[in-house]
């Protein structure tokens, strides 16, 4: 059996602001090369924290992380800051709020994906390599943004378009894995499907391992090939789509919905 691309063992997280409550409670999971995994659960179940531990963005929120995260063969939690940047450059991360720099042109936003390979002077004057620019144009067109718009400011875009820029940025990192944290939660249902299809295509065409967190059961079913369920910081469910019982699925993951 091949080695998993990502293996998480006994991962627990505490936020100091939450007075000792565990945001993640002893989570262990292995992700294999090329998988398309959906992590499902209600808000506050720990989905985001799990993703943000994989590239240690959670530390921005002062999370105290224990356990182990191994990406490829590197121990993420004990990596030095230089190693961590190396790791992050191989992980494309997509955010719920798109996190584009609104005042920068769309093209430059996408090009921030190449920063880990761009030198000091080139970054200072925003003089990216011609080859990177070509790649950026391609990536943007691939996610459906016309070339005529590439020099516009990102603030002029709609939510769905901003998220496409976010995906293009991740693609330019030439990532080994894509982590998408509630990528469609702020979008309307039609646009949400368009964006999810982009992830699906990238996964199928290039074999890039993809982990998406979703709170919507319909989308979870439609796109997940393996579904992981989380509840109150614990991993409570982990099955390939073929083994899932659709009748009990919602109750299994979200719990019984109290009706009074």
């Amino acid at each position: 059996m091949t080695k998993p691309i990502l293996s998480i063992k006994n991962l627990s997280v505490i936020y100091p602001s939450a007075k000792g409550a565990k945001a993640l409670d002893n989570v262990s999971v292995e992700i294999n090369q090329g998988e398309f995994v959906v992590i499902a659960g209600v808000s506050g179940s720990g989905k985001s924290t799990l993703l943000r531990c994989i590239n240690r963005l959670a530390e921005n929120d002062r999370a105290q992380i224990t356990g182990s995260v191994v990406f490829g063969s590197i121990d993420v939690l004990n990596a030095s800051s230089a190693q961590l940047r190396q790791i992050r450059s191989h992980i494309g991360f997509i955010f719920q709020e798109y996190n584009v720099v609104e005042r920068l042109p769309i093209l430059t936003n996408a090009l921030t994906g190449t920063l880990s390979l761009t030198g000091f002077w080139r970054s200072l004057f925003s003089a990216f390599k011609q080859s990177d620019k070509v790649l950026a144009h391609h990536a943007l067109m691939r996610v459906g943004i016309n070339e005529t718009r590439h020099t516009d400011r990102a603030s002029n875009l709609s939510g769905g378009q901003k998220q496409r820029v976010g995906i293009a940025r991740a693609l330019l990192q030439k990532p080994k894995i894509i982590l998408a944290d509630e990528p469609v939660a702020s979008l309307d249902p039609i646009t949400a499907n368009v964006v999810m299809n982009i992830f699906k295509k990238i996964n199928e065409e290039e074999g890039i391992t993809t982990i998406v967190t979703l709170h919507d059961p319909v989308l979870t079913f439609k796109y997940g090939k393996r579904i992981i369920g989380m509840k109150q910081g614990k991993l409570i469910y982990d099955k390939p789509i073929s083994a899932i019982n659709r009748e009990t699925f919602e109750e299994d993951i979200y719990g019984r919905i109290e009706t009074t």
């Binding site: 921005n60 940047r85 190396q86 992050r88 992980i91 991360f93 720099v101 920068l104």
Partner: protein, 548 residues
Amino acid sequence: MAGSKPLKLFFWLFGSACVVVIYYLSLEAIDFNAATFGTDIKHFFGFLGRMVPPDFSNFDQLINPLLKTFQMAILGAFLGALLSVPLIIFGSQIITQTPFIFWPVRMLMNLIRTVPDLLYAVLFVVALGYDLMAGVGALTFFSCAIISKLTSESADNINRKPIEAVQATGARRFQVIRFGIMPQLLPAFMDHLIYVLELNVRVSAVLGFVGLGGIGQQWLTALDWLNYKKALAVILVIFALVVIIDLIGNRIRDTLLYGGQLRKASRVFFNTLTIVGSIALIFWSWSSLELSLQRILDGLASLKNVGSAMVNPIQQILAFSGLGALFGIVIENPEATTVARYGEHALVQMGQSLAIALLGTTISFVLAFPLGLLASRKHTGIPEPVAIGIKQVSNAIRAFPELVLAVFFAASFGFGPMAGVLAIGLHSIGMMGKMNAEIVEKIRKEQVEALQATGAKRLQVFQYGILPQLLPEFIALGIYRFEIDIRAAAVLGVVGAGGIGKLLKEAQDFRNWELVGLCLLVIIPVVITIDFLSARIRRRLIEGAASN
């Protein structure tokens, strides 16, 4: 808030009693005389009458001082902006993540901001003599204080999400700053830079009061010769320069910052034009004011004069408080020292300055309240032309600096604190009226609509939907204005409007630098203390309003 009812009542009564006593003492401190107030007002309008029509006959003589003023303003803003960059970088929690660095830098920033603009001018006159370079120096510090303070506030409030996205790509720290932080901060920086340039023209116009040349000197001369028509002409010229800078500055800023819609070619053209133009302006000012690196270095070396002016009074204060022995300070003939002779007087004068600021702020707070409400057509149902007209009222008032107003009032109410109160009151009405109107514009309409939907009457909607949103903000703004007015009240005496500024001006005229130092030692701690208290109260008000 836990606390029994009688206890609350007690605090309420005690608080009200304190307020009454404070206002009584303040009125006492400014020698308020209700009997003569009416005739003085009449004098004031008579005085205004003698200024029209303005006399532009010597306009050609105004051009050179006006250019000098403009050049000082430009160089001050440019050098101040340069000086503020390291302060902003090392004082920002987001960029510099080490508290050991950003806290001291922030304290330094606050200290620079504490000193009123005219005090910088006095300090630089002490160091450099009566020279236009002293004006540039004062404006540099003044600009640096405002730009660094405002930009750091923007830096604390920037959106952290894009920063996270850049981090997530594996970018280095420098790259995160370059692509995540700088694009967000640059507009704020430019915004504040242009605002400061406009302020500098106003301030450099009054630098003439402490003998620093430029257009302010012309104005003083006209007043000294009782040539009021010419004095008005000078004021109108200054006003015109401020308006022109404001207009052009806003245009440049809008195109630079929000020019996303422009075609790329014209954007590049415009940016190049602005950069080349700015560099040319700076060089022109530099050579025209005959500045050189050597002169600046010489000037810095002579700053030690300021040092000794400050050190002696500090030593004397230590000696008098009995702490002198700790530092081995021995003072011969203690009765003859500056602190012994002027210490008490300086404190009394500072008290008068506080009274002036308090009364001036109170007047403006009361009057700016309706002005702010009426200047916004949102939700209040004011017809648009009326709202715009009222907005212009506060804009027009605000165009006159306190010092200029103080001179007018001193001429009609006599030299003394009353002139200071009225000057500060009137100028603050302009400032607060404008800012109150901006607060009204930002009301959340959801809450208002929710009340309208219940069928509430207009007055009820106002009381329950609008007023609760406005009141904490208005009060916080009033307290903040008090901070600013204290700075103004501390220097207004320079034109004879009472308070400690009068002592400062006398000390400067007699070249008694030790007494200048003593005045600074009284002003600065008081201003810092009030700033600190006011910041705490304001935070309480705003956060309390959010959580209750």
